[in-house]
Point group: C2
Chain length 194, copies 2
């Protein structure tokens, strides 16, 4: 287990004509969509070079865990799934916004919906280490950020079915009744197609 | 009770020669202090006019609740303590940073330290509505923010003893073992002295 301070680092995703990730498809699930783009670039900063003519940019910051308990943290720690693995040539960027009804709930009620009713954490665990995941927070970076979270997933092309299964489970859950904007971008690492 | 979406708004505190709040004293409790200043200004934005020569600026954003349960939220809602009350001519700005040991704890352990062991929420409740409070988050606004939280309190001059009592209780708590930087600025509204 990693006992260092949870690192906070900013990543910005730029959608446009450039980037190492090729967009295979964009699925607009609910709320406003995002303009279609050919490629996605990832920058390790909260700002990007504006001269590149991005169609959109989305920024987020990693943070400490908000819901996970000790036993869950230990279970997650036993199945490490690092990003950047050579075989993980497919990725998904799924920006999500939750409704006012979610954010006005106190902590215990949000936790109850997320795990007791929706099995979000325990289900995600089943897909480790195949589906690597990183959560970026954006809700508190500005007074009107377009999304609350950017979720990023990486997996081998042969595991995309598993990722689809995981998403289908979550989208049918009680927790997803509080999602009011969601876009699903599927990406392939440039050069990874045979 | 207020069921609207928790507002996120940015406030920046500027310490220097200008501002409606006069600094009565600054107490450096642990970690690096802050330069002494005469006055504090409050801006409703994440940036301030740099030409004013602030000795320091501290920014934070309001957010959703991270620990409060439904029953606690209801109890807090029954004792509303708005900011800006005419009689509340005294204020305290207490910037706080918590240690890596705090931030690596999962949610259930942080909650257990904060309330089960330290009675942070239930003790604060006892001082409502005399001591109005607002919490600003700053930890995730940058990769190296100087503090994790800015806590702001307002009260009548006749209630400063109660505020001191509350702070003494918290500073003796288990939770405060995880505080590694804390500064306590006591302020008086300009013109409020007889």
């Amino acid at each position: 287990m990693n006992n260092s301070t949870p690192a906070r680092f900013f990543h910005t995703f730029g959608g446009g004509e450039e980037g190492t990730w090729l967009v295979e498809r964009i699925h607009h699930l609910c709320g406003d969509g995002l303009p279609l783009v050919k490629r996605v670039s990832i920058f390790t900063s909260p700002e990007v070079d504006g001269s590149k003519g991005w169609s959109w940019t989305l920024r987020g910051v990693t943070s400490n865990e908000r819901y996970v308990t000790r036993s869950e943290k230990n279970a997650l720690g036993e199945r490490p799934a690092p990003l950047g693995r050579r075989e993980a040539t497919r990725a998904a960027l799924v920006p999500i916004r939750k409704s006012p009804a979610w954010w006005t709930m106190p902590q215990d009620e949000r936790r109850a919906v997320m795990e007791d009713q929706s099995r979000h954490i325990s289900t995600g665990l089943k897909y480790l280490p195949a589906i690597a995941r990183r959560l970026y927070h954006c809700r508190d970076l500005g007074e009107s950020e377009p999304f609350d979270f950017l979720t990023w997933f990486e997996y081998a092309s042969t595991d995309e079915w598993a990722f689809d299964e995981l998403l289908a489970f979550l989208r049918a859950s009680e927790e997803w009744r509080y999602v009011d904007r969601e876009v699903d971008l599927r990406l392939a690492l440039d050069g990874s197609h045979s």
